[in-house]
Amino acid sequence: MTDTPKFTSMKVQDPRTKKRNAAEKRFRAYGIAAIAIGGLFLAALTFTILKSGLPAFTQYVMKLEVTLSQEQFDDAESQLLKTAVYRDIFIDNFSDQLEANGIDVNYDADALERLLGKVGGDIRAHYRENLSDIGQPTVFQLQLSSRVEGYFRGRVTRDTLVDSRFLEKTDLDIVDVLRDAGLMTGRFNWAFLTGTDSGVDNPGGAGIGASVIGSFFMMLVVLFLSLPIGVAASIYLEEFAPKNRFTDLVEVNISNLAAVPSIVFGILGLSVFIQFMHLPQSAPLVGGLVLTLMTLPTIIISTRASLKSVPPSIRDAALGIGASKMQSVFHHVLPLSMPGILTGTIIGLAQALGETAPLLLIGMVGFVAREYPDGVVSGFMDPNSAMPAQIYTWAARADVGFYEKAWGGIIVLLVFLLLMNAIAIFLRKKFERRW
């Protein structure tokens, strides 16, 4: 018996086709959902970081014009309690200015100290360094104490404030009046970008500048050690090494090293570089060495991958016209794998830039970054911190003022990471030859 094939219209989908199409649609929906969730998290993260971190970039100050005559200066310098004299001069100028603005408010020297800290010292320091300002009206921008800053930002309110030697409710009346008169305002906090770490009780004075320099010197060490070592090792392993048990072992170990927790490298650095080799503690040089160890596997793996992706026909072509192995690698294979190598290197560097744990173990903690290095040698050898370690130190401090500094530090760190990624993309495009 033979069946004549039944006519089926192509316009009607059979059940199998329907099922397949439905499965495909479902899969696409999953994909879109996954991307949407990822985007949502990213947006939430960015929002939180900006919301918590941006306040670190503003600073609240009191503007005050002070005029100091030569006699006043000479007189103050001859006294025993010099800063007290300067404070009184400041208060005189302050009350003059209040009068000039038609402001009537009760205050005393203690209240001013609670608002502005020890102003006498600041003013004396300014005039001793700028002798030419004596006799001229000079505008001072005096930083408000951390609690008053909190009041400006809404962190401290009249309801939550408990009178203490740091701030009293009556002080807030002075603040309100001065703010309305425009004498107390916010401004961009350059000191946060250029400054060094401050003491635990002075969040307002804390800056990330010194740690940025520390990170910079560390990255120099990482770049100049891990790039040549990593690329040379990859080229040898990929192009020259015989395939045997030993090279297999080396390969497996490189892959394993890439997965070793960074704190292990930290303790290795502590015991080898500091305790055994007696390199200085907390030095960016040591930090750079530790991060080099950490970055090498990443660079080697990505370099080998990009060397592998160069088609073997290019190697054959070079060997076929009598190029040596090395000529074929350096003239043909390496240039072609350059974009991959550079991308891998910069990703490795970016990873190293954000690494905290190993730095804590070798002493590059935040509070070490109290001053800028004097020069290049000092940049490598003198105690310093790095951005992530600085952020960690701030986040661990009690004063809430440091909390927003930590978030601000994260913004600075992210800006540097984005910058490095931009460089990676730029180099990739530059070296990539489409032909």
Partner: protein, 253 residues
């Protein structure tokens, strides 16, 4: 000294445990085209790659027996394979120009072998090689354009120009036309015939018509054995071995 350019004696090739080439004896004359034919996997390409030691790059590959170039054993420990490959050039199955300009592709060999003392000599070599490879008229106005921008047939002729720029004595061609259309194939075949004036050419091909058209001598390989090696005319008209007969008449392969 023999009169042959290359003579292979009792050549065995092993890939690990796999005995890929068995007892091959071939004598290749100077200024002739020798074709290697045979079904896929018969070892003809493997044998070709022994002639300039390209198999050295494969770790598990082992070659035994003697291969003499002008009477010297090329597998002698004192022979540098890099120097050998300058004398025995190779063109591959898939056109593989370097991702550089046409000029740089051709100039690369002479540069690394120090064949040109200055830019003028180098320019001359490049022009001569491109002319020989019948690419000059098409390429002379775009010498600094990327070699990979050429068509497939032009790319293969560029690879041939690159190979002859180093002034080799033997040119090995591994299925040079398998990726080309009939017109490009015809151009390359014409080229091979011209190249025969200057040096000996060994060509591996899947196309028996091609072997018949371009070669004077033909070797038929089957399952790693050299079945028959003789004048091309004789192989295609009056083969001695029944296996050759069945292959060229399309019964095996």
């Amino acid at each position: 000294m023999t009169d042959y350019k290359i003579s292979a004696k009792d050549v065995q090739v092993y890939y690990g445990d796999n005995h890929a080439i068995k007892d091959v004896n071939v004598d290749i004359e100077d200024k002739t085209v020798t074709a290697f034919i045979g079904p896929s996997g018969c070892g003809k390409s493997t044998f070709l790659r022994c002639l300039n030691r390209m198999n050295d790059t494969i770790d598990i590959c082992r070659v035994e027996g003697d291969i003499l170039l002008d009477g010297e054993d090329i597998y002698d420990p004192s022979v540098d394979p890099v120097q050998l490959r300058a004398k025995v050039g190779m063109v591959f199955q898939k056109p593989n120009p370097f991702p550089k300009s046409i000029y740089d592709n051709v100039a690369y060999g002479p540069k690394i072998h120090g064949l040109a003392r200055n830019k003028i000599e180098l320019d001359e070599i490049v022009e001569k090689s491109l002319r020989k490879a019948a690419l000059w008229t098409e390429a002379k106005d775009r010498l600094h354009a990327p070699g990979t921008g050429l068509s497939g047939g032009q790319q293969q002729r560029l690879c041939i120009a690159r190979a002859i720029a180093t002034a080799p004595e033997v040119l090995l061609m591994d299925e040079p036309c398998s990726a080309l259309d009939p017109i490009a194939t015809a151009q390359v075949e014409e080229l091979i015939d011209e190249l025969r004036q200057s040096f000996s050419v060994v060509i591996v091909t899947h196309s028996m018509q091609q072997a018949a058209r371009v070669s004077q001598k033909t070797a038929f390989f089957h399952l790693g054995n050299l079945v028959e090696f003789d004048e091309t005319d004789k192989i295609f008209t009056n083969p001695e071995d029944p296996r050759t007969e069945s292959y060229i008449s399309g019964r095996i392969g």
